[in-house]
Subunit: 123 residues, 2 copies
DNA sequence: CTCCGATATGTTCATTCGGACATATCGTGT
DNA sequence: ACACGATATGTCCGAATGAACATATCGGAG
């Protein structure tokens, strides 16, 4: 339950085109696939069904007009999935944008948090 | 249809506490209330029902632990709503954060857009 | 030729969410 | 007393979403 992410930044969704966008959920899934080499393993790790993870991958690939994830069935490793160069680039850039955003808004976040803490405490 | 916002930044949601957060939809509603002086007018302008707009205001006020919007019924102006100091501060800061974020990620967005434009065009 | 593990899909059911209506309330003018 | 305009709530229904289950397929290993 990452209700309040450490940084204070909740969600950052970057829209590249009408159908191509990347947000925290998709990024985490891409990261999971990169690390586990499997859609189902990545999904399970995030507590979602394989079906849902697979659907997200579909939406991602179709939305971007080019595959971010490539999967294979059977074979030596009994199937699996991996990020394409595009997928890796998108993930890396997204993480970078998250970091820059967190830094850019840190000041405002601190001020607002102090403000609501005050109003709640007082009356 | 603001599918792809001019800036390229899609959604920015800032989480202050477990229940207090502000995103594009809420910010637009706050702005609408500030400008129209009415929850229903602001909602209508955004194409949502009064009920929904009112529900959002409730969630906002309860989530922050202090009211961002204060409303009144009857009276000289036949009721209306306005932002509290906290509401104004939250809205202003949010717009500022949006601007800083857009600036911070502009470079990455440009690169990614060029990349997907390429892949779609070629092959 | 069967087994295995992961992808690929379809179906069904429960829950959530929003839209559409329907009222009720309030407080100043007329 | 009544009308008006906006807030304040409740109910009901259809669409969308996701969880759960059930298969089907692929391709190398044994």
């Amino acid at each position: 339950m990452a209700g309040v992410p450490e940084t204070g930044l909740g969600h950052l969704r970057v829209t590249l085109t009408e159908t191509a966008y990347i947000g925290p959920g998709r990024a985490d899934l891409l990261e999971g696939i990169a690390e586990t080499g499997s859609i189902s393993a990545a999904g399970k790790r995030m507590g979602m069904s394989y079906k849902r993870a697979w659907s997200l991958v579909q939406a991602l690939n179709e939305g971007f007009g080019a595959p971010l994830v490539e999967a294979s069935r059977g074979g030596a490793a009994q199937g699996g999935a991996h990020l394409t160069d595009l997928g890796t680039e998108v993930l890396t850039r997204y993480r970078a944008m998250q970091a820059r955003t967190a830094e850019a808004i840190a000041g405002d976040v601190a001020v607002l948090r102090a403000l609501i803490a005050d109003m709640s405490g007082k009356k």
